[in-house]
Amino acid sequence: MNKQYLLKKILQAIFTTFVVLVFNYFLFRVLPGNSLQMIMRNPKASAEAIEKTRILFGLNDAWYVQFYVYFKNLLSGDFGLSFLYKEPVLHVIASRIIPTVIMVGIAQIIAIVVGIFLGVVAAWRRGTKIDVVALSISLITYSMPTFWLGIVLISVFSVSLHLFPTSGMQTPGKSFDSSLEFIKDVALHLFLPVITLSLVLIGEYAITMRNSLLDVLTEDYMLTAKAKGFSDNYILKKHAIPNAMLPMITIIAINLGTIIAGTIQIETVFSWPGLGRLMYESLKNRDYPLLQGIFLLVTICVIIANLIADLAYSYIDPRVKQ
């Protein structure tokens, strides 16, 4: 992979980031709604208090002044103060990012492993009952709205069967005797949200893997390998799957956007204290600084993920060298 390509891709990523930054800023400012009035809509709140807070957040300045201040601060790592929590945005995000990462991370692992497995099995045994079953399961979970799946799972496993807690990340306010107990508690709470997200992703990964593997299997060099007398298993593992993985990498990276959508829904249904719910809450309350911070962070992650996928793809596949 040559340096020029690498450089070009990185520059593109930086440029996109910049565009996103600007877009990000204006997008939320155009939202109707006076954030402070919303937060302080309480008959006991005085007009002076609201005015003071407006000045504190610079909301009385002209728009270009606010814009300039925003960018200046951004360069020094200051993402501003959250309206709702009156704390630096980065603090608020930091306190909510781990639950999301844990849930999404585990779900991704499960989904990738199971999805690839299902896809391989379905493709290899194309046309048989196994294929049909695997494909059907994948298609059905792929077609389900994420939140609906969450509701159904809670309904069955929490409400009816009492197997799992209905919400949250841990039994609230409980003091734990040991860290093992703590992990057990979190694991119990993690189960349903993770399963929901995994199921949603498994469908997509399985179908992609299946299609990609089928593509590869019908290639000429596959026939060649078979003619040469290599065993099915060997072909599968040494040639087919590795080559079929390429589109998978792209999908996994690009999927970040879908995952965010899924996360917002899951965190809402399960009251999971993560970034998705934080984003939704800050949107409802017009907490611009927090909104901008989260949106920015998320978009940058997507850009980086895409960049890595791009580079990895071109590194692995010698054919792709634009």
Binding site: N34, H162, D177, K184, D185, K284
Partner: protein
């Protein structure tokens, strides 16, 4: 492959991080009396200068004390002040403080703290309590345990003010400019509870104040748990994950009625839900001018079957609304039989007919003599499912009398914008009120237009009476003035009060007993007193903190096993692949 391995490593790292975090979880005495209360709105800040939430209000009642408190009959009772007296000219109050109160950091409470608190709140104008202190001209401390407060005019609500007294030795170091952002993350107070832990988005934990000067609560640990929706919270209550739930929906209350060990109540609350009409006299206002005719508004009220709405949408939990000040206090005005606008479709039609609104083109909607249709934009808050449903019912009822209400479901931000730019016709929202009627009466005053007023009502006579009632020290005299004010509002109808909200709460009585509704039919929590927090007793032996899921080793292991299995699977997969 490289990317996946990278992903995998990152995940492992995160898991390890979490693990190491948990190493710091300390072992604590399991035999503690803890109470977990489910709430749906979390506290926004631990600083009384920044918080504007009802949860904040409730928490400050537990962390701090005011000069004068409120007992279970909603009468004034000594708190930090043991006795008080008023001068003959009614302008000078003298409070005698307790001499045995300590701050949670050991420092003693003195009158300096009171003076400091009142001065600072008044000067900064921030927070929920600054309104209470209006009219105070000076606070003096002749000695360590006496406070003398002088007011400009007689101040009728002096004893109703719940302003928490803050420690001077902590807050004096906060620069005034920082008051708006200093979070008070580890509050120091004199209240029955001390600050324990605050996990944003999850819970607020308070612990009992062992050195409290008053009745020490039996609750060792008090946790307010935040739930994203009431459904999930009700499930948690049923499963024993929490011991009490607040702010529930009517459907959930119904569900709980049959459950044993759960007391579900529909307590009379401090608040109402109303229809607000754009009553602005300003010609530049974008609201539909037809609504300035109070006969239309009155007709809409006649067409509303409030009882049916209450029954269907609120499960019958609530009282049909009439005037501005809710009935659970001394100041509510009951309209006379002539004034009262009860459900009467005939009267609605008659009123509209006699006011000159007829349906001339037969489309079911009345017009005025210039052909303008009685068709209004009805904004409903998407955030509140009940207001949404109630609105749908109201629209359907208004249709019966020839008024067309076009529903739009919008979010709070959009609605607030519309209110401030006077670009609305009508909407549904609600207010929480107070023991002091001034709080809610003030919303209708002219100088709240552009601030708290959400109907743009302006009436000079009303404004005047607002000032008058604030200095009527005699309760009966004050009541008369407040009644006149409510009559005015009822007649001009900028609001139609749909209902007085009930507090839907439930508690598990197998863990804690001695619950009391306050006032008589009121709720257990969020009722302007901290009575229940101080007086509930554990049912039976000391209860452990082992609440929640069946901690059968079988069941709790299953979750862990799945987690391990997933990781093992992943590891196996990579190992398996590498071999070939």
């Amino acid at each position: 492959m490289k990317i996946k391995q990278k992903n995998f490593l990152v995940i492992i790292l995160v898991v390890l991080m979490t693990f190491s975090m948990t190493m710091t979880a300390s072992a604590e005495d399991v035999q503690k009396n803890s109470m977990r209360i489910g709430v749906t709105k979390e506290i926004d800040s631990l600083s009384p200068f920044i918080s504007y939430s009802s949860m904040g209000f409730e928490a400050f009642m537990l962390l701090y004390n005011p000069l004068v408190g409120v007992d279970e009959n909603l009468n004034s009772t000594p708190a930090l002040a043991t006795e008080w007296s008023l001068s003959d000219d009614q302008l000078v109050w003298t409070f005698k403080l307790r001499d045995d109160v300590k701050w949670s950091d050991g420092e003693p409470l003195t009158s300096d703290d009171v003076k400091f608190t009142y001065d600072l709140i008044t000067k900064s104008g921030l927070g929920l309590y600054s309104g209470y202190l209006k009219g105070i001209t000076s606070v003096d401390c002749p000695d360590d345990y006496t406070v003398v407060i002088t007011t400009e005019e007689p101040k009728a609500n002096m004893l109703l003010n719940s302003t928490p007294i803050l420690p001077k030795h902590i807050w004096a170091d906060v620069k005034e400019a920082d008051l708006e952002t200093w979070g008070n993350d580890t509050p120091v107070g004199t209240g029955p509870f001390k600050f324990g832990e605050y996990k944003k988005g999850e819970y607020l934990k308070l612990v009992v104040n062992e050195d409290y000067y008053g009745t020490k609560p039996s609750i060792d640990e008090l946790v307010f748990v935040l739930y994203a929706n009431t459904d999930v919270m009700t499930q948690a209550l049923k499963l024993g994950e929490i011991d009490a739930a607040t702010n529930m929906a009517p459907a959930q209350l119904e569900q709980l009625k049959g459950e044993k060990n759960i007391d579900a109540i529909s307590g009379v609350g401090y608040g109402f839900t109303q229809l607000s009409f754009n009553s602005s006299n300003d010609p530049a206002s974008k609201g539909n001018k037809l609504l300035l005719d109070k006969n239309i508004k009155k007709a809409i009220e006649f067409s509303m079957d409030k009882k049916k709405i209450l029954d269907m949408v609120y499960g019958g939990q609530g009282t049909e609304g009439t005037t501005l000040v809710p009935p659970d206090g001394f100041y509510h005005y009951d309209p006379s039989a002539d004034e009262m606008r009860a459900y009467d479709v005939k009267k609605a039609n008659e009123l509209l007919d006699s006011s000159g609104y007829k349906d001339s083109d037969g489309d079911g909607i009345r017009e005025d003599k210039n052909g303008n249709k009685l068709s209004f934009v009805f904004s409903l808050r998407s955030e509140n499912a009940q207001e949404d449903n109630a609105g749908q019912m109201i629209a359907s009822m208004a249709k019966e009398v020839g008024i067309n209400l076009n529903i739009e479901l919008i979010d709070d931000g959009v609605l607030i914008d519309k209110i401030y730019s006077s670009d609305f016709d009508m909407f549904i929202w609600g207010w929480g009120t107070d023991l002091d009627p001034t709080t809610i009466l003030a919303v209708m005053s002219t100088d709240q237009i552009g601030n708290l007023s959400d109907c743009n009502y302006s009436n000079k006579e009303y404004d005047n009476l607002l000032k008058v009632q604030q200095s009527k020290m005699d309760k009966n005299e004050r009541q008369k003035v407040v009644w006149d004010m409510q009559k005015m509002i009822y007649e001009d109808a900028p609001y139609i009060i749909l209902m007085y909200d009930n507090n839907l709460q439930a508690v598990k009585n197998d863990k804690w007993t001695n619950w009391k509704s306050i006032p008589q039919d009121g709720g257990y929590f969020f009722n302007l007193t901290n009575y229940n927090y101080l007086n509930v007793k554990p049912a039976g032996e000391a209860v452990s903190t082992q609440g929640g899921i069946n901690t059968d080793s079988e069941k709790s292991n299953s979750g862990l096993i799945v987690l391990i299995a997933a990781i093992v699977l992943a590891v196996l997969y990579f190992v398996f692949k590498k071999k070939k």
